[in-house]
């Protein structure tokens, strides 16, 4: 796994990101030192993220490409990816990278910049399941993936997807013009009704369904086999990245 590319990243900036103290410091130290030694941090990163060393290398290359050879990525960096231009949920995807909840910490809030490790942590939600996984592991993976999705919808972090939030999602999906705004509303209402009725079949007339909780969220997406659906293929050979930044 040769890494000929030099990394002139300034060794200074990850302390203020503040998410995972010790780890990020470690990452900074190693990345700052020299890229050829990325391999050294592998054992730990491999453990934490489940990626193979090759995948980590590839992702690191991409990370540097995106950040312009810096230690951290900011929203602007991701915003500039041309391929994302047409993605209707672009902003939500980008937000997800800066969401503290996706860092396996219990903190809520958002970051300004993320380090490579944090980048990896987000990416790790998109790992495919392996053949050896037990049923419980699969279940855990499913839950984790669903949690990621849930966090994307639950923008204010109160543990509930409210009608408002849900509608925003649908509107973005429809990349809604003014005509479709009404459709978006209808669809969201219908969807919300569905959630409410499947999860709380017996509600008094005065009860108030505040929003989709994670449990309900799990319930409605039961049929989707998220664990095998929500993944992308991470390159594990040292192939060239065709994407540019």
């Amino acid at each position: 796994m040769p890494l000929p590319q030099p990394c002139p990243a300034p060794p200074c900036c990850s302390r203020r990101c503040g998410a995972g103290g010790a780890n990020s410091r470690q990452v900074r130290r190693m990345m700052g030192a020299a890229t050829t030694r990325i391999g050294q941090q592998d054992p730990e990163l491999v453990d934490r993220t489940g990626f193979s060393p090759e995948q980590i290398n590839n992702l690191h290359k991409r990370f540097l490409q995106l950040s312009g050879n810096k230690d951290t990525i900011s929203r602007e960096n991701l915003n500039d990816i041309p391929a994302l231009t047409y993605n209707p949920i672009k902003s939500q995807i980008i937000e997800a990278f800066f969401d503290k909840r996706n860092q396996h910490d219990s903190e809520v809030g958002s970051l300004e910049e993320i380090t490579f490790e944090q980048f990896l942590m987000v990416m790790s939600h998109f790992r495919p399941p392996t053949l050896e996984m037990t049923a419980e592991e699969k279940q855990a993976m499913r839950k984790e993936k669903l949690r990621f999705l849930f966090n994307m919808h639950d923008t204010d972090g109160d543990g509930k997807i409210t009608l408002e939030e849900y509608r925003k999602v649908v509107e973005e999906l429809l990349s809604s013009g003014s005509i479709e705004q009404e459709s978006a509303k209808e669809i969201t209402d219908a969807a919300m009704l569905e959630v409410a009725s499947t999860n709380v079949p017996h509600m008094g007339p005065e009860d108030f369904y505040e929003g989709i909780t994670f449990e309900h969220f799990e319930q409605i997406l039961k049929g989707l086999e998220m664990e095998s659906r929500m993944h992308i293929r991470f390159l594990d050979t040292a192939t060239v990245h065709c994407g540019k930044s």
Partner: protein, 783 residues
Amino acid sequence: MPSRMGARAPAGFARSFLELGLLLLLVFVLLQGSVFPYGADASSQHAKDGCSSTHEGKPNRTKKVFPVLSFEYDHIKTPFEVSLWVLFASLMKLGFHLVPRLSSIVPESCLLIVVGLLVGGLSKLIGESELPKLDSGNFFLVLLPPIILDAGYFLPIRPFMENLGTILMFAVVGTLWNAFFIGSVLFAVCQIPAAGLTHLGLLSCLLFGSIISAVDPVAVLAVFEEIHINELLHILVFGESLLNDAVTVVLYHLFEEFSAFGTVTVLDGFLGVISFLIVAFGGVLVGAIYGILAAFTSRFTSHMRVIEPLFVFVYSYIAYLSAELFHLSGIMALIACGAVMRPYVEANISHKSHTTIKYFLKMWSSVSETLIFILLGVATVGGPHNWNWIFVTSTVFLCLVARVIGVIGLTFIINKFRIVKLTTKDQFIVAYGGLRGAIAFSLGFLLEVEDEEMRHIFLTAIITVIFFTVFVQGMTIKPLVELLAVKKKQEAKRSINEEIHIQFLDHLLTGIEDICGHYGHHHWKDKMNRFNRKYVKKCLIAGERSKEPQLIAFYHKLEFKQAIQLVESGAGGKLSSALPSTVSIQNIQPKKPPPAPEPRERVLPQLPKSREEEIRKILRSNLQRTRQRLRSYNRHTLVADPYEEGLNDLLKKQKMFELEKKIKEMNNYLSVPVATSDSPTLRRARLASDPQAYNVKPDPVAVPTIQVELASPQSPDSVNIMDEFRKDKEKDEDTGLTMKPPSGPSAPPRKQSEDAKDPQKLTRCLSDPGPSADEGEDDPFLP
């Protein structure tokens, strides 16, 4: 024959089955063609006038007494016999489902083959030599296309494309491996002097191998539809059976050519590969072209709805024939044609046409399938055989071994690339699902080898393999699936939430892929989708539906479906409690207010006028339909029906009320939050406008008169139905109905409709369950 069937059937079979059996006997006797007068009597009576007049005109009939009743069977022979066969096959199919439990134990395909065997055997006993053969020409040109078109048109594109690599691997490499392995080992077996087959050359063996190695889509469909296996496995086996057609066609022609000359050069092998590519891609291309043409045509059919469905069939058939014209893969052409045209055609054609297409395809394909299996059985008895123990047993054995090795070996390679790996169980089912069928038989039938004996050996072996796979594997696969606890198919119906999240996920994964800078699967899919949306849809879909985002289209479909279910539930087949969707509507009702308090403003105008109009239109047209249907049911099922007029009237009224109630409910849940404060006027206006749209004013005067009429149909025998119904009503009252707006008119109609439902329920009980049950089963609108 009926007695035999009776003996086979479990003890408590329906009495109607006996009658059916007698009928079948009659049909069977006719089929034999030996007892013509029966058939003649029946048919000539119809054709009397026409026949006699033509006879008169003919010069050869000179000076005879004018034939009052003449008889000319040859005139109608072919179509008459064909129709009899179709009738016979359909009746057999019907018969199986009348026998309780039988169809759950034995797959239909097995039963049909057995029937074919019996028919063949009987006719042999009678001495009838002229049996319909599973003629290869007819098979490929008439019987096969409907099945394949049905498969292609309703092909689940998404899983198919997602697993295309694996499917291709199995279909191409797997079939090649099977063909060569079976062929060459068989050649080795033939060299054993004891077998007495030393004259079989290597090329003949390979030819045989190429025929026997292909998994058959008809057999696979017949068996896999019954075991309800999960989508992945289904599409793997089924996709393989479809796509291996190209390989089979090429191998077959290659080896047929070679075995005639006896030598193969490297160049031939190379040409074979080229030919394969041409056959496969040519087929797909031909299919896609016709598919696009069909889609384009459907763009302009809005003024001629009647013939809309025809275009789908005719274009596909022409695609099939065009592909066959050049010896391209007709099956692939059909699949491509169906898959390409479907999304666009569906957006263009009317809802009724869509239903027509659906039912026609299903009907056609199931009749074809039935005929194929029965004829296969008949041909088994009728055909010349040459039973060679060594050859036959080694063929069956080799087929199994080759399949298992092939699947295991290929999965080993495939799993290196697949993200969702195939487990051992999956491999087992894929290997075990490799059923052979009528295509192999027809190909064997087509063989032109100089040596007749060899052909007979081949045919016998092919039939044995088919029987082995269909009977042994087909019958055991269901218990095995249960034993292994292989994941079953899930409820196909998708909820709006799932649809939202599927789309969300698509975009999310595309986005993540883009961030990774790795252009994978999702990236290209997204590109294709955008291209499709931007250009293709504009050309192929008429009107503004081309611009409709997928989610909205989905939502409309869902809405549409619910509206229809609503009407149908109102039509009395199922009461509201039996219908999940209706329940949810009612349950939602109390819950709808909650989201309102904060974003109250926004909830208010949920149902835009246009939308409402549309729903109303749908409801109205369906109302019309169901009403007609109901009336006709009444005519046929209620014997002496003095109340018919009143009843019909009643049903109509009842349905109106039902509808009205639903609409009100709809409005209700849509606007209840508002009712408290914002705009009661709006709601009232809407409530008032709705009944008007249906011309049903809940006229208080009308209510009592109807109830008077009602009293008589409410005969004592409908008591428990009523009770049941009351219970439902009460339940309704508990949950949703209390939320109703205090609308004055709603109370009396409610009572009235409550009562009105009973006679209706009664009629429904008396008549057969009707199409509504069927429609609930296989969901017609959603992809």
